[in-house]
Structures are given as structure tokens and as C-alpha cells.
Symmetry: C2
């Protein structure tokens, strides 16, 4: 007997047939005397549909009302799933954000869960009932409806696991785990059995879509082990937990990539303190996220070049801000909107000499030009021309024995 | 300056364009210094879609969860409309059922609004804001989500008008008022400027779809005058109010009909007390609604015939129950599943001699056979063969100068 959180994402509740299907998964867990709290997302596509409505009304739809709007989808799936469980003879009940309540803090559209009232739900699951609660939402201290950001249902599941002190947190999704690379692009990509929070964070922030970074972060902070598994197969999933539990026989765990990147290089910037701040502060204030930043030591101690990457959609705006910024002096500015970032990730990298060299050599063998390099303890990223993306992923996948 | 309830039905909020359109209607009302409370339905078709989902899961979907499910639609329209108003520069805010709260009593799916907290909304509208609240729902004393029955948004509007003591209650819909008959069937049908609660009740229960009977009943009980008007035209609508305010120059206000009826006649039933109860009690207990009941005085004081009408869909079940009921003795049983009911309605009928005679003569002139007759103070209904329905409506419409 265990106390479990089971979280089902949008595709897992994307149709009535699928809701019936997961009701059977839950019934099976419940029949093994487990205490079950289920967290559900809205039906796949529903949240985007609602946001589409709000965009048709205003470019700047009121944030309070947007939260009222987008949190309605989980009300639908919570009640449908509870009804499906009751139909199967399972004692089940849905709770809305305000009925528990799920207390949040922070701004509309980007709140954090602070606490939940656990007594009523604990009583219900202790007596054999399945509690179904909506992900992605809560209410503020003043009783306003708040959403906790896109993909927030994963974060809800992790926080529920923490607050209810459950034995596990299972994230059911439409893939059967975390892969060494995108299995749609790289047919030889392999499922990873165990991965650390850090590695998962690097993979998610680099484009792996399985779990949202904020949820992985929360799991890491609270040390909640996560099982990522498929709603649609019985295959063993991927376990995400702390690094010390993982035996690293391989230096590299996976190859990730991010698309839609762009690169800006400022040539001949003054090499003195405060220059980087002058460049990036106005970009940050304009909600432009900067990813990699590379600055070499200047040869003459006076001028240097700064290269940074950002989302392609922000490129125009960023160039305008830089050119209009009187504080920044530079000789020339280059930009490239056809680049992508390829990263190898692995907690074992730090203890394995030669990974860096091996990566660069492999790319050179396939005539892939490296435009910029950035490293961290468990990650090595390079910017390359977008056209080489697939070739690079395949090459690195093979190079690091991931096939 | 007036305090007003404006209620918009499903077709009036059925698309983003329509929501923008009604935001302009509301802005216009608000700019005339009126204090506005808006009650909204779900987008047209949405509630049926949700009920369809629940039916795909269970023939007997849990009633508590069904209420959670079906009340989600108004959350969407409340927030979209508030956002659309804010986009137009109008101060606006949505309140959910639990935020007001709207307190209800009664069973799931069929609750009644008991009370609402008016202070916060009164403050908001006094300061020029437009309050948007969801129709059709509330919460029970124990904090459960409750719906108040199909078409319940009209009832919400009436109760809001009562509790907030507003000067008027405007029901915006997709037709521009109440007609003397179905304008789709009878092109010469005329819009009625003024109609009494009683007449409206008879017309609604007889098939006029503009307003739900329960809402008209509530308006009558609290004496709340209703304006039914079109969202899509500027034509003057229909005012529904108490009888004493209406000047009856015409004896008959409208002609209504109901389709899908069936008729059962029991021949040679014992003419003694309790027989009718023996017949109808088991039908009622099986959720079969009986409409008209006609019983003549028996000629010999021993045996009589009883005719009654019911919905066609219930005919088979009713016949089975009667035949299996050992308490009822009869010589023969007839049934007819191809009948319809035509009614003339008018508060002036009671004071106008000859309406009854005129109706029967008119039908006879067109060779329409009357199968049964039932009368009330403001209504005269006849059961005829279904095939004669349209002919009868047209004839009566002309006979009573409604063209």
C-alpha cells in the first residue's frame, strides 16, 4: 500500500475514450489498496483554444480574466474523470481549486502554489476514495483565480506530492519516458531508465518537451522522485531523481536541440566593466530572454567581441534596442537567424575527460561548422547553422554510444 | 440613471464576434450612467457538448460531477466578456458562483437560488463598473457546485433583479420578442408588444422557446418586469409584466402548439373515486409527465372514458405500465401517437364571450377534427391529428386577427 500522485497530461485526457482508458489505469492502482490523488490537465488543445479566443478579443487581454478563462479546462476533465471512475464502481470525487483550496502567491498567469488544505482529501483517500484535482491553478489569498503558468499541471503534481507527503509522483504522458534524443527525428534514440534532476533540467530547457522545467526544479528542491511513464503502453518509464542515486556508466545521457534560435555578434565592444550589463539590461527589461553569452578575452585589452543567442522571434526587437542604445559602442553588428543549438547532456561528463574534444572532432568529421560554444558542468552546447541540425544530432548520438 | 440586469443567452455569446458585439451594447448602456449587472449563458451548443461527453461515459453520470462539468461553460463566457469590455475601456470584472457566492438549495441539476452576497458587486457597479456573473449555477450550503436546471440563466437573471432590486431585467436573445405564433411556420405571425406573466407561462409551456417557464414563474412571483429583446436588431422587444398593466383590446394573444404528443384513451373505466389516482400514480412514479386529462360524466353513473395526452416518447412505457397494473379495470384501450396540441392563449379570453365557439367553428370550417378539448381561464387547447397542425395554426391566427 502506497500513497501516490498520478498526473495525466492533455493528450491522456484528450478524448472520452482516453478518459475511460485512464480511469481503468487509476482503478487498477486503487484496487491495489493505494491511496490515490489524481492531477489532471485540460483536454489537449483546449487551453490553446481558450487563449486563441482571448487573443481574438485583445492583444493585451486582462490578466485576471485570462486566468478565469484558462483554468476552466481542468474543471471539465476533473469532473469527466471522476464520473468515469464512479461509472467503474470506484469511489471518486473532484475538488476545484477553491474547494480544496489550493493557495497561491505571485502574479496572474505565473503564480506559485503555497499550500493546500489536506485534511478533507486525506480523509477521502484514507477511506478508499480517489481524489481528482485540477492542475495548473489555485486561488490567491484574496480569492482570485490564479494560474501557475503553462505546463503548470506537472508542477501541481510535484507540489501535491510534497504537501501530501506521498510515496511517489507518476507523470503519465504520451511518450513512454525520456529519450536520449528526439525519437521522432532520431529513430535510434533510446529511452533513458534513470536520469538526475540536473540532467533533466538541462534537457527540458534545451527543448525536450516531456516535462516542464519549473516542475523538474520543484521536484529537485523538494527531492520528490518522479516516474515519467506512458498512458498508452505498459513499458517501464524513466525515473527522475537525485544524482547520488544514479550509476553513471556513460558520460553522456542525451542529445538535445533547440530550434528557432538566432545569434547576434557585437564586434569591437569596449572591454571594460559594465559593458555587458549595459547591453543586456535593456533587453531583459523588454522581456527578451538571452540564452548563451560568449565573450573572449580581448587580444589588445581594449576591444572585444560579444556573441549571444536568443529566440528568433525576438531578433528584430533586440537589434532595434541595441542600435538605439546610446550607451553601447561597437564597430559592427552581425546577426544570423538561421542557427540552432545542439547540446550533449550528462552528469557523468564532468568526470570523463575528453568529452569536449570528442564532440568537436565528431562535428568536424561531418563538416559541421561550430559558430559558438558554451559549457556547464553537465552540458556542452554549440551553436551551428540550422541546416546541419539533424546531421549533428545523429552524429553525436552515435559518437556517444546512445544508439 | 437606472440599475439594470442584462442577460445574454447562448447564441448571443456564441462566437467571439458576438461577444464583441454585446460588449458594445453593454458599453452603450454603461455610458448612459446605468449600473449594470450582466448575466451570461455558456456559448451556444457548449452545454449540450458537455452533456454529450457525460453521456458517452455513463447512462447515469454522477449528478454531483455533472454539475461541476456543465457549469464550466459560463466561466468561459464570463471571462471573455469581461475581457472584451475592458478592451473597450469599460471597467468590468467577472465573479464566479463561489466568489459572490450564489447560494442555492435543492438537488444537483435542479437547484434554486436562495440568496447572493450583494455588497461587493453593489460597490463595484456604484463606482461605474460592469459586473459579469455566470447564469445557471450557484453553490450549496456545503460548498458543492450546483446547477439550476436547463435554461436556468434566465432564472438567474430574474433572481439577480430581485435580490439587487434593479429597475429592469432585459433578456437579450436571438429573436426580437414574443410572437403570436411561431414566425418560422406562420410568416404573418406578429410580435407581441406586451404580454402578461400568465400568458407567457402558457405560451412557454406550450412550446414557445423564448423564455424558460421557471424563469417566467420567478418573475411572476417577484413581480419583476422583463424585457425580451434581440441582440441582433434594434427593434423594440416584448415586455412581460403583470396582467393589470395590460390593456386587452384583443381576446387572444397568441397561438401555440406542441409537437411529439400522443393520446391514450381508456374505455369503460369504473366511475368511482380513486380510479384516476390509480391510473396516474404509477405513471408519475415512472417519470411520465401527463399533460391534458379529459373525463366526461358517465351516462349511466357506472362506467366512463378517460383520455389523456403525454409525450410521444413515453407512449410505449405508459401503455405497458397501464396494462400491467392490476388495479385498473377497463373494457378497451386506444392510443394515437400522431397527435398535436394547438392552444389559443389570451388573458382577455375570460372576459370575451364566444372565443370557444369561434375556435371550434374555425377548425370545423377547415375540416380539422378535434380529438379532445381542455380549457383554462386564459387558454383553450385542442388535440388534433398531427397532419392538421400547420393548417390549424394558420386558421386560428387569422380567425383571431393576429395576422
Amino acid at each position: 500500500m502506497a500513497k501516490k500522485v498520478l498526473k495525466f497530461g492533455g493528450t491522456s485526457v484528450g478524448s472520452i475514450e482516453r478518459i475511460k482508458h485512464i480511469a481503468n489505469i487509476i482503478k487498477n492502482e486503487n484496487s491495489q489498496n493505494n491511496q490515490i490523488i489524481v492531477v489532471v490537465s485540460a483536454m489537449a488543445g483546449k487551453t490553446n483554444e481558450l487563449i486563441g479566443y482571448s487573443n481574438s478579443i485583445s492583444d493585451n487581454f486582462d490578466k485576471r480574466e485570462l486566468d478565469v478563462l484558462v483554468t476552466s479546462g481542468e474543471q471539465v476533465t476533473s469532473s469527466l474523470l471522476s464520473g468515469a471512475l464512479i461509472e467503474l464502481g470506484v469511489k471518486a470525487k473532484s475538488w476545484m481549486n477553491w474547494q480544496i483550496p489550493i493557495l497561491t502567491e505571485g502574479e496572474h498567469g505565473n503564480s506559485r502554489i503555497l499550500n493546500m488544505n489536506i485534511e478533507e482529501i486525506n480523509n477521502f483517500i484514507s477511506s478508499g476514495g480517489v481524489a481528482v484535482i485540477p492542475g495548473f491553478q489555485g486561488i490567491s489569498k484574496t480569492g482570485e483565480i490564479t494560474s501557475i503558468g503553462r505546463g503548470g499541471s506537472d508542477a501541481t503534481a510535484v507540489i501535491v506530492a510534497k504537501i501530501f507527503n506521498t510515496d511517489s509522483c507518476d507523470i503519465y504522458t504520451d511518450v513512454d519516458g525520456i529519450y536520449s534524443s528526439d525519437p521522432n527525428k532520431i529513430p535510434v534514440a533510446k529511452k533513458i531508465d534513470k536520469i538526475s534532476y540536473d540532467e533533466m533540467l538541462e534537457l527540458s530547457s534545451l527543448g525536450a518537451k516531456v516535462m516542464q522545467s519549473s516542475a523538474v526544479q520543484a521536484a529537485m528542491i523538494y527531492d520528490i522522485p518522479i516516474n515519467v511513464k506512458s498512458t498508452f503502453s505498459n513499458r517501464k518509464g524513466t525515473k527522475i531523481f537525485s544524482q547520488e542515486n544514479i550509476d553513471y556508466s556513460k558520460s553522456v545521457t542525451g542529445v538535445a536541440y533547440s530550434k528557432d534560435d538566432a545569434k547576434i555578434t557585437l564586434i569591437g565592444v569596449l572591454d571594460k566593466p559594465g559593458v555587458a550589463a549595459d547591453i543586456f539590461e535593456p533587453l531583459g527589461k523588454n522581456q527578451i530572454n538571452i540564452d548563451m553569452v560568449i565573450q573572449n578575452i580581448s587580444s589588445d585589452g581594449k576591444k572585444t567581441d560579444i556573441t549571444f543567442t536568443l529566440k528568433r522571434v525576438d531578433l528584430k526587437k533586440a537589434l532595434k534596442i541595441i542600435k538605439e542604445n546610446k550607451k553601447i559602442k561597437f564597430i559592427d553588428i552581425h546577426n544570423n537567424d538561421k542557427v540552432s543549438k545542439i547540446s550533449i547532456v550528462g552528469a557523468g561528463m564532468v568526470t570523463t575527460p575528453g568529452v569536449t574534444y570528442k564532440m568537436f572532432r565528431a562535428l568536424a568529421e561531418d563538416n559541421i561548422n561550430i559558430l559558438a560554444i558554451s559549457t556547464s558542468e553537465i552540458k556542452l552546447s554549440v551553436i551551428i547553422n540550422e541546416i546541419d541540425t539533424l546531421k549533428a544530432i545523429k552524429k553525436l548520438h552515435t559518437t556517444f554510444d546512445l544508439d
